[in-house]
Structure formats: structure tokens, C-alpha cells
């Protein structure tokens, strides 16, 4: 089309120029330049099209992110350097005073300890179990789809419902868990009182919900591992476990890292499960299971100080970044070292 119209047009143009008085335009020159310019313009448009269009197509995400991601982040920072009551609204500029008050509050450090403890108790077993579960689901099972669907089932249940069910399970005096424990002949565990027991109980809710989800992500990655690699490995005499450790895990490394990072981010922001673990919502009488997000909520909605709550939000943001980077580094190194051992056998 383009070439055709460019070839046809000069004919019409010359016809027109013969009608127009000579000298008004340098004959021959004018139309030619016109065509050149037009083609150049077209080309520029095409270039622009090629270069810009992809960005236009992906821009909705970034625009949306700007509105719902960056703006709250910036606004929270703005709130955190002001005195700001929940109901009274914006007060005077106070600099870093809110941060100082948060860092001086013993409940902040208590919440940080609880958060890290619950995070470790949930994320570590979660990723390991998910990995093992995915490995099992990757085999030739009967009714595979049923099994795969069923590991995702807990994920469909709302966290609040999970908290209610587990709340009954972990009752200190009349809970099912303690009844079983006493039936075995052990002393009942005070799930809501003892710090570690409460963390284990909360971590189990989190794991119940997220393990299957992570397992499915890992399973998807595992299915992309070429089957002939396993064949050669079994010819070399590698058993199932050896194959899993030396082939499967290194081959799905990027996905493992993804799962670790996302569960780190999630693990440091646990809220619904501990919040609903008792009726007060402050993480127990001694705040023994108050996480950072619950602490943030307490400051914002019980103490009604949004300035301090925003300061906690920013501190939590920084803590998560540090942990995510640390995990990225560690898991890269760990996965890298196993890879080195196996590359000889696996690399083709």
C-alpha cells in the first residue's frame, strides 16, 4: 500500500503542477521533497509505533501501580512525619519524632521478635513441605487432578474462617488439639498463653493455607523439567530422592527463589490469623503473639495515632526489603552450590 501510493502520487502531482503557474514552485523538486517528507514522517511514526506501543500496552499496570502502589507509599511517608490522629486528622509537622517514639516503644521490639519467630516457623516449613508435596504430585499418581486440586483447597477458605476453625482446635482448655494431647498422656499445651506454643499454632494456620498454593507453583515448574534428564540419571543409578535433590531442585531454582521471596513478604505481614486468635486482638495479655502488622493496627485504631502507625508501616517496609534481599542472596548461594555438584552429570 505504502509503496503503491508513493508511486502513484507523483503522477497526479505533476498533472496538478502543469495547471498551476510555473515558478510558483521549483518544478520537480517540490513534489519530490513532499514525498520524501511524507515518507520520513511515516517512517518516524512507524518507529514511534514500534518503540512506544509496547509501553502503551504495559502502561495500565504502571499507571495503576502509581495510583494504588506508589501513592499510598508516598502518602504514608507524608503521614508518618506529622502528628495525625485517626479521627482528628492531620496535625503539626513533627519530623522523625514518630519514628523515635516507635523505636523507643518496647512493644515494637516485642512485635518484631514475634514477627520474625512466626515468619521462621511458617515460611521455612512451608517452602520445604511445598517442595516435597510438589515432588510427590509430580509422579504418576492415580487421580492426579484430584490430588492437585485438593492441596489448593485450604487456599480457597477465607483466613477469618480458618482462624475460627483453628481457634476451636487450639482452645487452651476445651480444644480438640489438647484433648488429643491429653489422650496420649501428655500435659495440655497452653496455646494462647505460652509464647512459642502460640507462635506454632499461628504458623500452622498460615502453613495450612499457603503450603498447597506454593506446592502448585513449584509443581508447574517441575513439569517443565525435561524427562530425559531423569532417564539418564536413573541409568546412572540415581534413586528417586537423589534425582529430586540433584536434578529437580536445581532445575527449578528460579521458581524456588520466587516462592521463597513471596512467602517472606507474606510471612512478615501475617495479620488475620494472630488478630483473630483471641477476642481482644492485641496478641494476648502479654502481647506474646502480636505481630508488626497487629502492632501497626493497634497504634492506628486503638491508640488512634495514625502518625505512629505510618512510621511502623515504613519501618516494616524497610524490614521486608532487607529480609527479601537476604533471602535472595542466601537461596541463590544455596541453590548455586548444589548446581555446581550436579552440573557434570546433568548438563548436556
Amino acid at each position: 500500500m505504502k509503496a503503491g501510493s508513493a508511486a502513484v502520487q507523483p503522477v497526479g502531482d505533476t498533472g496538478a503542477s502543469s495547471v498551476s503557474p510555473a515558478g510558483s514552485r521549483p518544478p520537480g523538486q517540490g513534489p519530490r521533497r513532499d514525498v520524501d517528507e511524507r515518507a520520513a514522517w511515516r517512517q518516524r511514526l512507524t518507529m514511534l509505533d514500534v518503540k512506544v506501543t509496547p509501553y502503551v500496552f504495559v502502561s495500565p499496570f504502571f499507571l495503576l501501580f502509581l495510583v494504588v502502589g506508589m501513592f499510598p507509599l508516598g502518602y504514608t511517608a507524608w503521614v508518618s512525619v506529622h502528628e495525625w490522629g485517626l479521627l482528628s486528622g492531620q496535625g503539626a509537622f513533627s519530623g522523625l519524632d514518630n519514628y523515635r517514639r516507635v523505636l523507643e516503644d518496647r512493644y515494637f521490639w516485642n512485635a518484631l521478635r514475634n514477627t520474625i519467630s512466626i515468619f521462621l516457623l511458617s515460611s521455612v516449613p512451608q517452602v520445604l513441605i511445598a517442595l516435597a508435596l510438589a515432588g510427590l504430585l509430580d509422579t504418576q499418581l492415580r487421580a492426579r487432578t484430584l490430588w492437585r486440586m485438593s492441596v489448593l483447597l485450604p487456599f480457597v477458605v477465607a483466613p477469618a474462617a480458618v482462624a475460627l476453625i483453628f481457634g476451636n482446635l487450639y482452645g487452651d482448655r476445651y480444644g480438640l488439639a489438647n484433648e488429643v494431647i491429653q489422650w496420649i498422656g501428655l500435659d495440655p499445651i497452653r496455646w494462647h498463653v505460652d509464647t512459642l506454643a502460640s507462635h506454632v499454632a499461628i504458623a500452622s494456620m498460615v502453613n495450612w493455607r499457603w503450603t498447597g498454593y506454593n506446592a502448585l507453583i513449584l509443581l508447574a515448574a517441575m513439569q517443565a523439567v525435561p524427562r530425559d534428564v531423569y532417564e539418564s540419571a536413573s541409568l546412572d543409578g540415581a534413586g528417586r530422592v537423589r534425582q529430586f535433590v540433584s536434578i529437580t531442585v536445581p532445575m527449578i531454582r528460579p521458581t524456588v527463589i520466587f516462592v521463597i521471596i513471596t512467602s517472606t513478604i507474606g510471612g512478615l505481614q501475617i495479620f488475620a490469623e494472630p488478630r483473630l486468635f483471641d477476642t481482644q486482638g492485641l496478641g494476648g495479655a502479654d502481647r506474646q503473639y502480636q505481630t508488626l502488622t497487629m502492632y501497626l493496627w493497634e497504634l492506628g485504631w486503638r491508640v488512634r495515632d495514625l502518625g505512629m502507625a505510618s512510621a511502623v508501616a515504613w519501618l516494616l517496609f524497610l524490614i521486608i526489603i532487607v529480609f527479601a534481599l537476604l533471602n535472595l542472596l542466601l537461596s541463590r548461594r544455596a541453590a548455586g552450590s548444589t548446581k555446581k555438584i550436579t552440573t557434570k552429570g546433568v548438563r548436556r
Partner: protein
């Protein structure tokens, strides 16, 4: 159902899929409807009003009655399990400026904190309701400029609820008049408790340290804050005394060591967990619900240390609502003496309305669950015995939470009584 079972598998799957789809659509539509214009109207064009309450207000049948009376209004009740939950929701949506129900119930413990935000509520003053409530109930809801921001619902005059069957086991009198003679002051009440736990070691004397402490705090006119709302909790000897008495009692095994409203606390009603509890009128409905099937509950016309008022609520109309006029009408109707008497008969919420107090419908009412006790007469007596209404400033609810947590820490053995008191003082300082 039967036809569904008979049809083929594929159809069932399709049915399930469409059901899920419909559910998703419904929830998204509901989520989107939040800011829309049709919020507050039903499909057939009626005005929809929501009433948010907590625990038991006894409004279920009243709302049905109101709906039957009205042609253009449909009322729906939203019930929160605990007052805390309800309070959190109220604050969040008050701060957000939207999302509140058309009528929100507010408990007296955090009433004065909300009085500071009186602009967020509709002025409900109306010549029709003048003189409807007890003076003190009405005064507490009136701002310095004379705006009335809440209609009183109930008050919480307290008696002692007890399990007659367990009393018999321990050799204590079971007749409610004889029991009343036993509990004239806190010392005699606790002394009877020590005798009781000696005889029946598996059962505690009262339901929770926190509840009993709350009842005692409610008898202190200026407990956590003085007249000018200066926080005095740390220095007040009466507060310290309550704390020491309660923690010492816990050491003697008088308390279940459970927190009120926890799952274990609810379960303990079914398991002979305790024999008595401080019992404001609205608690009768709670006990009846939690102890369903348990026989032996009764209520004695007495309260240690004279009388005490625990709780009681108001209905407010948030200014952010769309149908404030209709909401005011509904609140006016719900808090009228006739309606409050019905709520009392349903759930024991004792009227704060003057005309209800000597109404034979109230004074003559009995409660089957509590061994046919004349609850109307007993609670009316208890209301008269209340010498004053404890002052509760804007920080009362927050300090009370810290106080309750300190007691709980001792109950659970996380801290000694001295340590718990010190950390309570630190918590008060933190509230600022």
C-alpha cells in the same frame, strides 16, 4: 435438590460453575455497590436501614415487627460478637467517613471518647422524647451545646447469677433470698467462694477475673480518670486495691483464669466451669445462650458493696448515613419504653426509660431459664441500689483494656502481680 442429584455429572458441574460465577458476581457487585447510589435501597425500591449492634440487644423480633409495620422501609440488623469488635469497626469507618450502618449502637465505656466527635453524629433531640430517659442517662448523651447524639437503650444494673445445683453440692443455700443474704459485700462474697472451692475443687467461684474486676471498678466513682479527665489510674488507691484483691483471689483458685468472651470462656458455661458471675441485665441473654441446656441457673437480688451499673448502651445515627431522617424515626421507635420492655423480655437488656421502670410488663416479668426468677423486679431493685454512675472519660476504654490485660497476665502466670502492676503503669504512660 432431588432433581439436581438425578441429573448428569456435566450438568452438576455446570450448575456448580454457574453458582460460583453468580457468587463472584454477587460479591463484586456488593463490593462495587459500596459508594453507589443504590446503597441503602432494596431491589423493589424500599429504603434499607441497617442497625449495628453487639452481643445481645434483643432486637430480632422488634425489627420484624417494625418491618411489618412499614411499607417503604426494610430494616436489617448487623450483630458483632463482642463490644470490642464493634468498637474497632465503628472507629475505622468513622475515620474513613463512610461505611457505617444507619444506626450504630455505642457502649457507655467508650461513649465519652465518641462525644468528642459529636459532629459525626446527627442531633437527635426531639420534643417527643424529652423526659423519656433517666436523667443521668440522657445528660451523658447531651453535648455542651445541647445536642442529643444518642438515644438510651439499656442500663446495666447488676445482680449475682449463680448455679443453684453447684451451690447445693457445696452445702451453700440455694434459695435466691438466702443467697442474697450471703453476698452483701465483696469480702463475704469472696469468703463464700473460698468455702465453695474447698468443697468443689474442679469448679471456680466466678467466671473470670476480668469480669469481676470490671464490676468492682464500676463501683468506683472516679477510677481511671478524675472529673477533668486527668488520668489518675496509677495513683488511685482504689484501683490498686481492686487489682490486688482480684489477683489474690486468682491465687486462691476463685477465678477460672479465662478471659471473658474467649472461646474457652464460652465453653466453660457447658462444663461446670464456675458457679457465679456478676450479672448486669444484658448478661442474662448471654448466659442463656452460652449455657443452653444447663439447668440450675438463678439470680440473686443482691450485689456486693451495694449496687453497681455495668454497661448499657445508646443508639446513634451517624451523620454520614443517607437516610438519617428515617434512621432517627427507627431509633426513636426502638428506644421507646414499650419496645425496650420487649427487648428486656427477650434478652434481659434492662430499660433506661423512666416509663418502663414501673410498667407492670417489666416488673411482673419472670425468666424461665433462671428458675422463673422475677428478673424484672430484681433488676428494678438493683437499679435503685445504684448509688451513682461511675465517671468514664475519653480514655476509659483504653485504660480498662490495659487493666484487664494486666490481670490476665497474672491469671496466666506470665507475670507476678507486682510485675503486672508495673507493666500496667507503663502501658498507661504509653497511652499518653
Amino acid at each position: 435438590m432431588q432433581t439436581v442429584r438425578k441429573t448428569q455429572k456435566t450438568r452438576r458441574v455446570r450448575l456448580a460453575t454457574s453458582a460460583i460465577l453468580a457468587l463472584t458476581l454477587a460479591t463484586t457487585a456488593a463490593a462495587c455497590g459500596g459508594g453507589g447510589d443504590d446503597e441503602g435501597t432494596t431491589a423493589d425500591g424500599k429504603i434499607k436501614l441497617t442497625v449495628a449492634t453487639f452481643n445481645e440487644f434483643g432486637y430480632e423480633e422488634l425489627i420484624e415487627e417494625y418491618n411489618a409495620m412499614q411499607d417503604d422501609v426494610v430494616v436489617e440488623q448487623k450483630k458483632a460478637g463482642t463490644a470490642n469488635e464493634h468498637q474497632d469497626n465503628l472507629y475505622t469507618k468513622l475515620a474513613a467517613g463512610s461505611g457505617l450502618s444507619d444506626i450504630e449502637a455505642v457502649e457507655v465505656d467508650w461513649w465519652s471518647a465518641l462525644m468528642e466527635e459529636s459532629d459525626a453524629f446527627v442531633d437527635l433531640s426531639d420534643p417527643e422524647v424529652e423526659g423519656r430517659w433517666l436523667d443521668w442517662k440522657n445528660e451523658a448523651a447531651t453535648t455542651p451545646d445541647g445536642a442529643l447524639i444518642g438515644y438510651g437503650t439499656d442500663i446495666g444494673p447488676e445482680g449475682i447469677c449463680y448455679r443453684a445445683d453447684l451451690f447445693e453440692k457445696a452445702g451453700l443455700p440455694t434459695d435466691r433470698d438466702k443467697v442474697a443474704e450471703l453476698f452483701t459485700d465483696w469480702d463475704s462474697y469472696f469468703e463464700a467462694g473460698r468455702q465453695f472451692v474447698d468443697k468443689v475443687p474442679d469448679t471456680a467461684w466466678y467466671d473470670s477475673s476480668g469480669g469481676t474486676a470490671q464490676a468492682m471498678i464500676n463501683q468506683v466513682e472516679y477510677s481511671f480518670e478524675d472529673e477533668d479527665n486527668t488520668v489518675i489510674a496509677a495513683e488511685n488507691p482504689e484501683v490498686k486495691e481492686v487489682f490486688e484483691t482480684i489477683t489474690a483471689n486468682a491465687a486462691d483458685g476463685l477465678s477460672t483464669g479465662l478471659t471473658q468472651w474467649s472461646e474457652d470462656w464460652t465453653a466453660s458455661f457447658q462444663d461446670n466451669g464456675f458457679a457465679t458471675m456478676a450479672c448486669p441485665g444484658w448478661m442474662l441473654g448471654v448466659i442463656e445462650g452460652n449455657a443452653a441446656g444447663v439447668e440450675g441457673w438463678d439470680i440473686a437480688n443482691v450485689f456486693p458493696g451495694g449496687g453497681g451499673n455495668w454497661g448499657g448502651s445508646y443508639l446513634t445515627v451517624p451523620a454520614q448515613g443517607e437516610h438519617t431522617e428515617e434512621s432517627k424515626e427507627l431509633a426513636k421507635w426502638l428506644t421507646a419504653p414499650e419496645q425496650q420492655i420487649k427487648a428486656f423480655q427477650a434478652k434481659g437488656t434492662f430499660p433506661s426509660q423512666v416509663d418502663a421502670l414501673d410498667d407492670p410488663a417489666l416488673t411482673g416479668s419472670t425468666n424461665e431459664f433462671f428458675n422463673d426468677a422475677p428478673t424484672g423486679e430484681i433488676l428494678a431493685d438493683r437499679a435503685e441500689a445504684v448509688p451513682f454512675i461511675a465517671h468514664k472519660g475519653p480514655k476509659f476504654a483504653d485504660i480498662n483494656t490495659a487493666f484487664q490485660q494486666a490481670i490476665q497476665r497474672v491469671d496466666e502466670g506470665q507475670e507476678s502481680a507486682d510485675e503486672a502492676w508495673d507493666s500496667f503503669l507503663a502501658d498507661i504512660g504509653r497511652l499518653g
